[in-house]
């Protein structure tokens, strides 16, 4: 099933942050591919460059300190890094959408959640106010928010953490993106809620045939949801393969250490 | 951008240094006795104007007193009033704000209600009323301007403490058995100090101007003491004919207040220990 061309391909990406104390090479030649209908997990600890890589995919790193000295981000073969800002805006939230770790800081506290979901349609599709609103309620319904008509009229602080993350996913999905990048989408959530959100992502991926790129530090989450894994360390991809390959026959010491450090419910056999 | 800011701050610091030197060494720097009247040399223009002389570089006033000497001596009052008022208001405001914010409950409610009531009065009017009651005099002016200024400090400290006291390190200190007073001194005060410094710079500038206003109205410092405010008051009558009598003290006042404000901004930028390292 992965013989077709990838939707998203990152080729030899370099990301630098030019700070006062000297340049920091956050990403040093990362390559990866994401195919329609599959979940690619990007695993790494803090400072591994995983988030910088993902933000680079939409050129969302703040650009005075950040620079892209090399590499390509290809969406259907088109290099996003070479696009002018205006064209890039058409891609963001439309072809490629993102979900971040903290739904509280990524939602606007002063806007009703329905409006925030509708905003995507109004900017990208030029939908009418009423049409966008209706579509937003439908999107809230699709991500399993009970009573979506009522919820659409509420503000983010009136929702629980799990519901807020569902709103974020609705905002990401309403534009029918072909790639969904989820950066630690469940790290701030309780385990039982995490399970629900992961199930939701898997279900939506299957239904819409998106490519999901899931950034996480939790190998348990990877084992539960991903088809393929990329392990990052110090700005490089140190290992990649199917989940079974990487978990059962890790080639790198770093991957082995990471696997050994992961706490397990059952005593390791 | 930062270079420009730094240069500006440096210039401001220079002006302030000059002010302090002028205040401390007035007798050495002033060319003349500021109270000495020379009725024959009344309203002499500055040296570069026609009819001016180097004996009075900035000219003389309506009683023939040397303007430069008076501006130099006037800095003493300004500096004393500004720093004195800010110090008094800062100490009173910080103590009240710390207690109100950390303890909460009825002391907090009473204190903050009192602050609200005081804020409802225009502060200059309040100052006028108190000076009228206490009588004029340098120390009374300091007292009055300090008293009318404490509310700003108390409010900022209190709101800052309200957020600080829920920080983990304060919880940790409480769990360790550290007394409330020590927590305030060790964990709260150092973290509100930069905010205090910012308000203080604004307050010093405001107090200097307020003292000038009071003196201008004749309610500040007794007539014998030279202040920029009373010079302005004297000079306004002659603005049409002899501008220098009012303009030079006014300029001194403006430059001082500006320099203090710029220094305050710069202080706030460097106050954060994480902002610049190495």
């Amino acid at each position: 099933m992965t013989t077709q061309a990838p939707v998203l391909e990152i080729r030899d990406l370099h990301v630098d942050f030019r700070l006062a104390g000297g340049p920091v090479h956050a990403v040093r030649g990362v390559s990866l591919t994401a195919h329609a209908g599959e979940t690619l997990a990007v695993v790494g600890e803090s400072g591994s460059g995983k988030s910088a890589t993902m933000l680079a995919a939409l050129r969302l790193n703040p650009e005075p300190p950040c620079a892209y000295p090399g590499g390509e981000v290809l969406l259907d073969g088109r290099d996003l890094l070479a696009l002018p800002e205006k064209r890039l805006r058409e891609v963001r939230g439309n072809d490629v959408a993102m979900v971040f770790q903290d739904p509280m800081t990524s939602l606007d506290p002063l806007q009703r959640v329905g409006n925030q979901v509708a905003e995507v349609l109004r900017t990208h599709r030029g939908a009418s106010r009423a049409g966008a609103r209706q579509e937003a309620v439908r999107a809230l319904d699709e991500v399993g928010i009970p009573d979506p008509e009522l919820r659409a009229r509420q503000y983010p602080h009136e929702l629980s953490g799990g519901l807020r993350q569902r709103v974020m996913i609705a905002t990401a999905l309403v534009g029918r993106p072909r790639v969904l990048i989820a950066d630690e989408p469940t790290t701030a959530l309780d385990v039982t809620v995490q399970r629900q959100i992961l199930d939701l992502l898997a279900e939506l991926r299957a239904r819409h045939g998106m490519a999901v790129v899931l950034v996480t530090h939790d190998l348990g989450v990877v084992a539960e949801t991903a088809d393929r894994v990329v392990v990052m360390n110090a700005g490089r991809v140190v290992e990649h393969g199917t989940v079974a390959e990487v978990f059962e026959t890790p080639r790198q010491q770093y991957t082995r250490d990471l696997l050994a450090a992961t706490p397990r419910l059952e005593p390791t056999s | 951008m930062t270079v420009v800011r730094n240069r500006l701050a440096l210039a401001a610091l220079g002006v302030l240094a000059l002010l302090v030197i002028a205040a401390v060494f007035s007798p050495l720097l002033a060319p003349d006795d500021p109270a000495k009247q020379q009725l024959l040399a009344r309203l002499t223009p500055p040296a570069w104007e026609g009819g001016g002389s180097l004996a009075h570089p900035l000219g003389t006033d309506q009683l023939g007193r040397d303007v430069l000497s008076r501006v130099v001596y006037g800095s003493r009052v300004s500096l004393l009033v500004g720093i004195g008022a800010a110090l008094l208001a800062g100490v009173v405001g910080a103590v009240c704000g710390l207690f109100a914010g950390f303890r909460g409950g009825w002391p907090d409610r009473i204190l903050m209600r009192f602050a609200d009531i005081q804020l409802a009065f225009p502060s200059l009017l309040l100052a006028l009323a108190i000076v009228g009651f206490l009588g004029s005099g340098l120390w009374n002016v300091v007292l009055v301007l300090g008293f009318t200024g404490w509310v700003a400090y108390a409010r900022v400290v209190r709101s800052e403490v309200l957020s600080l006291r829920t920080r983990d390190y304060v919880t940790q200190a409480r769990a360790t058995g550290v007394t409330d007073l020590t927590i305030m001194r060790r964990h709260l005060l150092p973290n509100v100090l930069p905010h205090l410094a910012t308000i203080a710079t604004l307050h010093i500038a405001a107090a200097i101007v307020a003292e000038a206003s009071l003196s201008y109205l004749g309610l500040g410092v007794p007539k014998e003491t030279v202040t920029w405010g009373s010079m302005l008051a004297d000079g306004q009558l002659y603005l049409g004919t002899s501008w220098w009598v009012a303009v030079f003290p006014g300029l001194a006042l403006m430059l001082t207040s500006l320099a203090i404000n710029i220094t305050g901004d710069a202080l706030r930028d460097v106050a954060d220990p994480k902002a610049y390292r190495r």
């Binding site: 199930d199 991903a226 450090a261 419910l265 | -």
Partner: protein, 294 residues
């Protein structure tokens, strides 16, 4: 051994901390009431690790504040070393605090950013031992802080640094060093590793186990991560909506949970070997291969 003088009267040598019918209500705006902790009865034995497990809103944070005496209960008692905390004078309570310390979750907000590590770690020392106060005692104090830092695996010379110069894991070690400074018997660990990377987390957990062995410490370990709890705890108490729904030996509770909520919690934990048996909704078509059995 330092100053916590008379309160060091061990009652039965077995029970260190007793919570009896403990409850705490909060009154919100208007007359709304929330019962954060509801009739909790628990004991913590000397030298053991009891884990408090629960999700957000379970009352675990309120419970730790109650047992540390930072919050007054609306009903019930907390006994530490046989002393009812509610009956102690403020001075007695402060003295007692030398015996119970806490390590909090967030290694960034748990330290005063304006204090050097020396003074952060030394705070319990100078609070409970007057001989560590003042300029004369400075050399001795620095020496003690150095020892404490080394005991948690940090070089003694780092004490002249500020907190922001440390990584998350190093900061958590500093926090542990501070907690040990007054030679406590009980240490409450409030999600001490949940903000850390996995590799750092496992090092910190190993350190905690080692320190417990060396000093005969008793831990109350608050966590939402059952996999971590399995590694470190002797007993587990599962909290839900302010109540203990299940309490027992770790192996029993995690291996054969009786309460449905415990089962739900266990089922939700992502397992690193889940890829072998995955049949969940929408999980690709499975690339074949993977299920070689092993």
């Amino acid at each position: 051994m330092t100053t916590a003088d008379t309160s060091r009267r061990t009652t039965t040598r077995t029970t260190l901390l007793e919570l009896d019918g403990l409850a705490r209500e909060f009154t919100g705006p208007g007359t709304t009431r929330t019962i954060a902790v509801d009739d909790v009865t628990l004991t913590v034995e000397d030298g053991e690790t009891l884990a408090l497990v629960g999700e957000s809103g379970s009352g675990k944070t309120t419970l730790t504040r109650l047992l540390l005496g930072l919050l007054d209960p609306t009903a019930g008692t907390v006994r530490f070393e046989g002393h009812d905390l509610a009956r102690l004078s403020p001075a007695e309570m402060r003295a007692l605090r030398a015996g119970m310390q806490v390590v909090l979750q967030d290694p960034y907000s748990s330290m005063n950013p304006r204090m050097k590590v020396t003074d952060i770690v030394a705070e319990p020392l100078v609070t409970h031992d007057v001989t560590y106060r003042g300029r004369r005692a400075r050399a001795r104090l620095r020496e003690r802080v150095g020892e404490l830092l080394e005991s948690v695996g940090l070089p003694a010379r780092l004490q002249d640094r500020y907190p922001h110069e440390f990584s998350g894991g190093q900061r958590q070690r500093v926090s542990i060093a501070r907690a040990l400074a007054s030679s406590p018997r009980l240490v409450v660990l409030d999600e001490p590793t949940s903000a850390l990377d996995v590799s750092v987390q496992s090092q910190v957990l190993d350190l905690l186990v080692e320190l417990q062995r060396q000093h005969g410490l008793t831990y109350v370990f608050v966590s939402h991560n059952l996999a971590v709890v399995r590694q470190i705890a002797d007993r587990v108490a599962v909290l839900r909506r302010g109540r203990v729904v299940e309490c027992g030996e770790t192996a029993t509770v995690l291996g054969a949970p009786r309460h449905p909520y415990t089962r739900e919690l266990l089922a939700a934990v992502p397992r690193p070997d889940a890829y072998r048996t995955r049949t969940r909704t929408g999980t690709g078509t499975g690339t074949g291969g993977g299920t070689t059995g092993v």
